[in-house]
Symmetry: C2
Subunit: 225 residues, 2 copies
């Protein structure tokens, strides 16, 4: 076998390690969760419904490919993305999946039918209307995820505390709720609840990383060659 062949095989072998990480549904879910902020092993186990040992094993795999990293904090091992670019890559994967896989499109529209008339608001429209002061953006993720990063201007009320803080919401404005991204249903539940209380509300499908990619693509303005 030629030198070049060996080199290419080794190189693609390496890239395939990242591919391997993405070949398991559970690992993809873990990466999506970690995109929102660092978490302990058993937090991840609880959210995903997997056994702790299983989560740990998947995290090892992700660690070997340098997609996540960890540190000890008291009794817990906290895992997080190794790089912000991993989150951005996950957005790329989601985009590609939604474009190529009819099944993804179907699954998404199916769930939105369950949540009545849940047409999401477009990111562009939202930012415009926020700017004009017409809407309030609501981040319904846990506090720590909000602290890790959120869309500027959003207020934080975690899903479980929504009822408690209902009164503090401005009555005259429309509420737009968002959560972890297109495959998280917390915002849908929030909108459903708000609507049931007679509050005008709609859902933003995008999460923090999708938002970030959007502003990056609209504000980059380097000089042309």
């Amino acid at each position: 076998m030629s030198m070049e062949r060996i080199w290419k095989d080794q190189l693609y072998q390496e890239f395939a390690r990242i591919g391997k990480c993405l070949s398991s549904p559970k690992r993809l879910e873990l990466l999506d969760l970690l995109s929102q902020g660092p978490k302990s092993v058993d937090q991840l186990a609880k959210i995903t419904g997997m056994s702790v040992a299983n989560v740990s094993q998947h995290l090892q795999t992700l660690h070997e490919s340098r997609l996540v990293r960890s540190h000890k904090q008291g009794n817990f091992v906290i895992y997080g993305l190794a790089e912000l670019s991993v989150a951005d890559f996950m957005v790329s994967l989601h985009r590609l999946g939604e474009k190529q896989l009819v099944e993804v499109q179907k699954l998404k529209s199916d769930i939105l039918l369950n949540h009545v008339s849940m047409e999401p608001i477009a990111l562009e429209e939202l930012l415009e209307r926020m700017h004009r002061g017409e809407v309030v953006l609501l981040d319904v993720r846990p506090k720590d995820e909000y602290a890790t990063g959120h869309i500027p201007g959003a207020i934080s009320i975690p899903m479980e505390e929504l009822e408690k803080h209902l009164a503090s919401l401005p009555a005259d404005k429309e509420i737009v709720a968002y959560c972890r991204g297109p495959y998280c249903l917390m915002s849908a539940q929030a909108v459903e609840y708000l609507k049931s209380k007679g509050i005008k509300a709609s859902r933003l499908e995008e999460g923090v990383h999708e938002w970030k990619r959007f502003v990056d693509s609209t504000t980059s303005n380097k000089e042309i060659i």
Copy 2:
């Protein structure tokens, strides 16, 4: 199991199908090759050194995930990327791999040591100098890949025909050669050959898709929200 859990599992199952495609080194190489233009099964088999049956099997996998598509042309089945966005996604994967995997960095620098003093020229610098008419950009890929898409201003001389067309190259300008991208060595071989003939030459690491992403990121200039 809750409705939501089932939905999420199905959804991530779907995304994992794309991941599966990326988990095999051979399939990654096939995707990279198809990024350059459509090819028949046995063309791919010859380039990659795999058996035809094996290539066909991998192509089925890629086809099931809607990453490639095929059509018959005479006696041949021609495969190509299903969407240009697949090529762009591959660039994302390469980026992530180069950033996270030290092994990839090492493999790349190792091979460049073999090709003496082969520091690649930066894309930005190249475009500037091309614009000033200081350099000639040379596409050494096969003609059909050039026809599928090339960097504007590049001239096409496939690797094997380089010797034949040597005289037609402008003597006063520096030559910059490029090929399929960072993991293709044709351009390095071309530069080595040109240098051996006393022609000033250097290598562009980027290929068409990397170039495309670069111009997209520098020229996008929509108004800010």
